[in-house]
């Protein structure tokens, strides 16, 4: 979508110049960028902007969150499902510093976002004025671009750049720090969208020789395997990817952020990569002859020990960001560019292939994983409720059409493992930063980004309490999200590591929890607590049938484990299957 915008006329001058306040200019600039939803929280240094917003309620919907971290995560959730740029609006000092976690998260996960923070009046900058924080200094390393606006004249220009930079190329967060006097002072207003900056080339030109080399290497492959990352989704290249994979008969695994780029039931889809990913894609990474990485960055949670990673394979890497090429894994062919352009160029030069024996090898491993892990996790007949079975029942009950939002921990891994996708942009999770507290606000944002879709938020009892105040936002605006709390009364993922690597010394991971249903009730959110397997189906149905937000608390086994597991820093061929089994 951003790409479409780029083909619109570069210059759309507003007919007449008008003299307006900086705040008014900011709002009009946002409207010119197609912004209709903003998540924010007011305060002294941003009040003029909130005042201007008051006159534009029909054009820009402002969602008042309950903490700035929530505003930024909501903007992320919004952007992740909608293809638009998420926008958060916060005040100076503590407002801006509360936004830091979400900004870092967006940087790690390449989420297009513009965060606008108020700043003290420019004459007080650098004097430790009330609620002054060095936002530029703090956010520079965790953003794609930051700019401090000190004059009303620079607002339109800065907004235009900010949106271009946030959305184009490899997307990312941008911070605009706007001094209060710039918001108040007046100047002429006219608006031009930015489509070109000489110091910034968002999409590197494809290199013809590399395209040809990639096709040749793929044509020569007997055992090709692809790694699909979020770059495919960010580049809207899902169809191009499927055409590529199908022509080459190439099985693939997804990174956690690449999930949903291709429907779960596609015959070439071998599941998730990485630490808690599926067995076959991890094993086969180390057995393929050609490894094709597309819009992914070889994160250590995917590769494990680099010294033992895909050493046998020729590696082809497609990426829009040249800095990712050869960063972690040395490649044979580097295909820079936008996957939407480069994939079809390579596909055209590829021969139609099928690799039935190679595909069958994946099945063998899937069967092992199914027998040892999946069957027990999804279809237990006795004992405490398992996380996996809840996720499985929820995804089936939504016809696998819902958006899955997760927090961070065991439930996240269970959700990403067992939720199923029929549409792209259906997985919203904190991948690179692993931010607890992400789920609830990101889910709220996702609902605004995709109002027609069901949003299911899976959270743990730990993570929910990190941003539970956003129940207030849900209540205030009647946001319709389904919250599935998988409560093990433990900081489960940390407990799992303590069990495995710290001698079962459960240091500070057991939690005494509140009555979550009562908390939800206080916010007018309907809820139910389920402790018995027999009640689960009906409760899920009730949740999905309910017209409005709903908290379904499922008490799951206290000491559940997420398997398979590649221990951190180990080889992805050494996979623990649990109960003493390994591959």
């Amino acid at each position: 979508m951003e790409r479409d915008k780029q083909t619109q006329p570069v210059i759309t001058p507003t007919a007449n110049k008008e003299t307006l306040s900086g705040s008014e200019i900011l709002i009009r600039a946002l409207v010119a960028e197609g912004v209709d939803t903003v998540f924010g929280y007011p305060g002294g240094a941003i009040m003029p902007v909130f005042d201007a917003l008051y006159d534009h309620k029909e054009r820009i919907k402002h969602i008042l969150v309950r903490h700035e971290q929530g505003a930024v995560h909501a903007a992320q959730g919004y952007a992740r499902v909608s293809e638009k740029v998420g926008v958060a609006l916060v005040t100076s000092g503590p407002g801006a510093t509360n936004a830091i976690t979400g900004i870092t998260d967006a940087m790690m996960d390449s989420t297009p976002m513009v965060v606008i923070s108020g700043q003290v009046v420019s004459s007080l900058l650098g004097t430790d004025a009330f609620q002054e924080a060095d936002v530029i200094g703090v956010t520079q390393p965790i953003t794609k671009w930051v700019y401090q606006v000190r004059r009303a004249e620079d607002i339109a220009w800065a907004v235009s750049r900010a949106f271009h930079i946030a959305a184009s190329g490899r997307p990312g967060p941008v911070v605009l720090d706007i001094a209060k006097d710039a918001q108040v002072n007046s100047c002429d207003f006219s608006y031009e969208r930015t489509t070109f900056l000489r110091s910034y080339q968002p999409i590197p030109d494809p290199e013809e020789d590399k395209i040809q080399m990639a096709a040749e290497v793929i044509n020569s492959a007997k055992k090709p395997f692809a790694l699909v990352g979020q770059g495919v989704i960010l580049g809207n290249a899902e169809e191009e990817l499927i055409a590529f994979l199908e022509k080459g008969g190439i099985p693939f695994g997804s990174t956690i952020l690449g999930l949903s780029a291709v429907p779960t039931d596609h015959p070439l889809n071998m599941g998730m990569l990485g630490m808690h990913g599926n067995v076959s894609p991890n094993i086969k990474t180390n057995e393929c002859d050609v490894l094709i990485a597309i819009g992914m960055r070889f994160d250590d949670r995917v590769t494990g020990d680099l010294k033992t990673y895909a050493k046998q394979a020729k590696v082809i890497h497609f990426d829009i960001d040249p800095a990712e090429l050869d960063k972690n894994v040395k490649t044979t062919v580097k295909v820079v560019g936008d996957a939407k352009q480069t994939l079809p160029l390579v596909t055209k030069q590829m021969e139609q292939r099928a690799h039935p024996e190679w595909l069958a090898e994946f099945d063998t491993y899937y069967q092992k994983e199914y027998d040892h892990i999946i069957k027990k996790e999804l279809y237990p007949e006795s004992g405490e409720i398992k996380m996996g079975e809840v996720v499985h029942k929820v995804t089936e009950a939504t016809n696998n059409e819902a958006i899955c939002v997760t927090d961070v921990g065991q439930h996240q891994m269970m959700s990403t493992r067992y939720f199923k996708y029929t549409k792209s942009r259906s997985m919203v999770t904190s991948g690179g930063l692993g931010t607890m507290g992400f789920g609830l606000p990101a889910g709220i944002g996702a609902k605004y980004g995709a109002p027609d879709r069901e949003v299911c938020i899976f959270v743990g009892d730990g993570g929910l309490q990190m941003t539970m105040h956003e129940f207030g936002t849900i209540m205030d605006y009647g946001v319709n999200v389904k919250i599935i709390l998988l409560n093990n009364n433990f900081l489960g993922m940390v407990r799992q590591w303590q069990e495995l690597f710290f001698d079962e010394r459960y240091s500070e991971t057991q939690m005494k929890n509140p009555d979550f249903i009562k908390v939800a009730d206080a916010y007018g959110i309907k809820g139910k607590k389920v402790t018995k397997r027999e009640e689960l189906d009906d409760a899920i149905k009730e949740m999905l049938d309910h017209d409005g937000s709903y908290l379904l608390e499922v008490v799951v086994e206290t000491k559940g484990m997420v398997y398979p597991m590649v221990p951190a820093g180990g080889s992805i061929s050494n996979i623990m299957l649990g109960n003493g089994y390994s591959l």
Binding site: T7, Q8, V10, I136, Q140, R198, S199, P322, A323, D326
Partner: protein
């Protein structure tokens, strides 16, 4: 400490915006590289600043990655690295000496000849030498002066350098960008 390490010179061209240096040094810090010398000034092209930074590493891959990370920043126009063979490079050094000690020592001419020193200042109190050259040369003079006359104050600039190759990489890049801009404008007008 820098045994087996090569000294690399990184040249960076940036837009003249606030905070670029901060962005660059953050990347060095995150990659655990020590900046040996740094020099910044407006370049030949108006509105564009040039940074010359030197750093030691034993792995050229580290340099490749570093330069890509710097190049990636929005305000950076171009970044590249070179080793000494590709460059003509110089540093400037100033040496303040006590006039009395210099007189005792006798001849300044020796230093002028041997080190190609320029004399910037002579007063009752002090004599100031200027020497341009490579690090070993400015260092050699410093050591000789220290052991003979004594040095009151010493300062050395960061390295400045130009490549020996014929092409100026920045102007090529700017020309290409201009071309891309007109192409973009043309497609957008349709």
């Amino acid at each position: 400490m820098n045994d087996n390490k090569t000294l690399y010179t990184i040249t960076i061209f940036s837009e003249n915006t606030v905070g670029v240096l901060n962005q660059i040094t953050t990347i060095f810090t995150r990659r655990q590289l020590n900046i040996e010398t740094l020099s910044v000034s407006p370049s030949a092209i108006e509105g564009i600043h040039k940074f010359t930074i030197t750093t030691f590493t034993n792995d050229e891959e580290v340099m490749k990655k570093l330069v890509r990370l710097i190049d990636k920043r929005v305000d950076i126009l171009k970044a590249y690295y070179n080793t000494d063979e590709d460059l003509v490079h110089q540093e400037l050094a100033l040496y303040k000496l006590s006039t009395e000690k210099v007189m005792e020592h006798g001849s300044i001419e020796y230093f002028v000849r041997k080190y190609n020193v320029r004399i910037l200042e002579v007063s009752v109190d002090c004599v100031v030498f200027l020497k341009a050259g490579h690090f070993d040369e400015t260092q050699g003079l410093f050591e000789e002066l220290s052991s003979t006359i004594g040095v009151l104050q010493f300062v050395r600039s960061g390295r400045i350098a130009i490549t020996k190759s014929k092409v100026e990489r920045l102007s090529d890049m700017l020309a290409k960008r201009e071309e891309q801009k007109s192409l973009l404008l043309a497609t957008q007008q349709i």
